[in-house]
């Protein structure tokens, strides 16, 4: 009897040990895969200030960096995705010309989020507007609603996607403010690539951040401010 008990205890100990050894690496991998466990907070509002006076006509470095970072083809046909584009503007009264990068304006009141039937378009607590690729049914109503023409629809099957930037045929996508980089404490690719440092990225809610200080001292504009969307992207010089 006692032998049986000892054997049974031994068996239980070994089993528990084996289970622990089996589960532990999985738990570690799970943690690694999920990265930082803390949730994003509304104490932060990510934004950008773009100085159009410094944005060189013909320079496309931010767009190229965006395409490379997010695995976009860089094609310019009407069916290709363009998360970021350079817009050339000419003032109809004085004839002044300027050039600026245009992308998702990461609105505080995003029309795309309002109209999305499934909630696939959503705004994170830190102000970044994203599309959940698992919920998007591809109805394109958000593209109709966006005042900035910031969204693209994936018209063709995709190849060679970036692991950090999931995309999907038949779904809508747009600038993510390089959320995968921002969550790691890095700058969005466009801000880093700008040779003239015309794109300042930072926390609009932190009065000590570079972007907040600059917005206090220079005149900045929200595109289509009349719509009252309170955009996260601000422009200087328009």
């Amino acid at each position: 009897m006692s032998d049986t008990n000892v054997q049974r205890r031994q068996f239980l100990k070994t089993s528990v040990g084996a289970v622990a050894v089996a589960i532990a690496p999985g738990m570690l991998l799970f943690d690694m895969a999920h990265g930082k466990s803390e949730a994003v907070s509304s104490k932060v509002r990510w934004g950008m200030l773009i100085d159009t006076a410094n944005c060189a006509d013909g320079c496309n470095d931010c767009v190229t960096a965006c395409n490379k970072e997010n695995g976009l083809s860089g094609g310019l046909s009407p069916t290709d995705s363009q998360w970021m584009r350079k817009v050339e503007l000419k003032d109809m009264r004085g004839g002044r010309t300027l050039s600026l990068p245009m992308m998702c304006q990461h609105c505080d009141e995003p029309p795309c989020v309002d109209v999305c039937p499934t909630g696939a378009s959503f705004k994170r607590a830190d102000g970044i507007v994203l599309v959940d690729k698992h919920l998007c049914i591809g109805c394109r109503y958000c593209m109709m609603a966006c005042p900035y023409k910031a969204r693209s629809f994936v018209h063709e099957p995709l190849h060679d996607q970036k692991p950090d930037v999931p995309r999907g045929k038949g779904t809508v996508e747009s600038c993510t403010m390089c959320v995968h980089r921002v969550d790691k404490g890095q700058q969005p690719a466009c801000a880093e690539a700008c040779p003239n440092k015309s794109i300042i990225f930072g926390n609009l809610n932190d009065p000590e951040s570079e972007i907040s200080k600059k917005i206090r001292t220079v005149q900045s504009t929200q595109v289509r401010a009349d719509l009252g969307l309170n955009t996260g992207i601000r422009y200087q010089g328009i």
Binding site: L89, D114, V172
Partner: protein, 398 residues
């Protein structure tokens, strides 16, 4: 044997019609399959014209599905006996058109396989999501309405249920109009006039569809129109056409009054290429003025001219929707007021759209679904309007 031949002919005609309708539906499903396989690259739609031909078919059918119920409402809610005899057919057409339109809308999605997500994840602020409820509610309400009309024991309920349907379809067409009315940043849309405009358009389109279908059913079953009834219903069509034209005119005139909209109106009404052509020739002339003449001119107004007028109204409806949906997207968004803009993404440029065959096949597949539902239902149940055995005041047929 001789007495069987009309029946045989009817049988053969029925199977031929079902086969033809089935073929159209199959072609539509094949187009949808190709779109899912290859992506929307095989359509003419792109990042500027994001809604195309399938949406024109779908919206026409959904709007007409609501409007066709007018015939039923005039019978049930307002107690007009002539219309009451037609209420079951009108309700059937409503269900058929709604099914056709929604199928097209669903199969045009980028991910039609995820349609269930639309039911499991619901964004309460989205007018699209409201419409999902409105459409399913409409199916249910009209099905119950049909039951109350066709099951004798339920007849007393047909009036209150008819009233619910009457209210529901107003809300439904308001919802369809709101899909566009809530698009604040687009020049063509974002107007509070759109829901009432869609409601009045639905009256005209729905009644036109009803006229055409009723005549086809009569022809295929060897019945004839009663001249009095044709006269009453054509007058109603005339009033609806005038009402629709008035609201479309009001929409454009209010736009013309706002300085910031004049560029868009100039594009749609004058120099936008195919859009002004379709608007003036397709919608105004062929879709409204000519049908009005066919209805009111002395010497005309017989069954044949009313059917021609109805077909023209339907064609005019498609023309208007092409101008409204495609033209409205083709005109560039005014992102930087006061500036001329150009970019690699079509800023400041008129969007180009060349519809492709799969889009038309998908749209026609939707019409095929509506046709099949109607043809089969009329064959198996008593949907053909009977005017003679009608007993005025009692509201039931013997």
């Amino acid at each position: 044997m001789a007495s069987h031949s009309p029946l045989q002919f009817k049988n053969r005609l029925f199977y031929a019609l079902v086969a033809a309708g089935g073929l159209v539906v199959l072609m539509g499903l094949y187009a949808a399959h190709m779109m899912e396989e290859h992506g929307h690259i095989i359509t003419g739609m792109n990042n500027q014209i994001v809604w195309g031909i399938p949406h024109i078919f779908a919206i026409f059918m959904i709007v007409a599905a609501s409007g066709v119920l007018n015939v039923a409402s005039i019978g049930s809610v307002f107690g007009k006996t002539v219309y009451k005899a037609r209420a079951p057919l009108a309700s059937l057409l409503s269900i058929a058109l709604l099914a056709g339109g929604l199928t097209v809308l669903m199969l045009d999605l980028g991910r039609p396989d995820r349609i269930i997500v639309a039911a499991t994840h619901y964004n309460i602020t989205s007018v699209f999501a409201w419409n999902i409820l409105l459409y399913s509610g409409m199916f249910a309400a009209v099905a119950i309405y049909l039951w109350t009309m066709m099951e004798q024991r339920m007849n007393p309920w047909s009036k209150p249920v008819g009233f619910v349907v009457f209210v529901w379809r107003f809300i439904l067409t308001t919802g369809t109009g709101l899909i566009f009315a809530f698009l604040v940043a687009r020049q063509a849309y974002g107007s509070a006039l759109l829901p009432p405009m869609f409601i009045v358009l639905s009256f005209a389109w729905g009644l036109a569809v009803f006229h055409v279908v009723q005549s086809a059913i009569y022809a295929w079953n060897g019945n004839t129109h009663t001249p009095d009834i044709v006269k009453r219903m054509k007058n109603l069509l005339g009033i609806f056409i005038i009402g629709a034209l008035y609201l479309v005119a009001a929409y454009h005139l209010t736009n013309l009054y706002f300085a910031h909209q004049s560029g868009f109106e100039h594009f749609i009404l004058v120099d936008g290429g195919i859009y002004p052509q379709l608007f003036w020739w397709g919608y105004v002339l062929l879709g409204n003025l000519l049908p009005l003449l066919l209805i009111v001119l002395p010497g005309l107004g017989n069954t044949k001219s009313v059917i021609t007028a109805s077909m023209l109204v339907i064609l005019g409806g498609f023309a208007l929707l092409y101008v409204f949906i495609i033209g409205g997207q083709a005109y560039p968004l005014n992102i930087f007021p006061g500036y001329e803009a150009k970019s690699s993404f079509g800023d400041g440029q008129i969007g180009l759209y060349q519809p492709s065959l799969p889009e038309f096949l998908l749209g026609c597949g939707g019409l095929g679904i509506a046709f099949l539902i109607t043809t089969v239902s009329v064959r198996v149940l008593n949907f053909i309007p009977h005017d003679k055995p009608y007993i005025a005041g009692r509201g039931t047929t013997d």
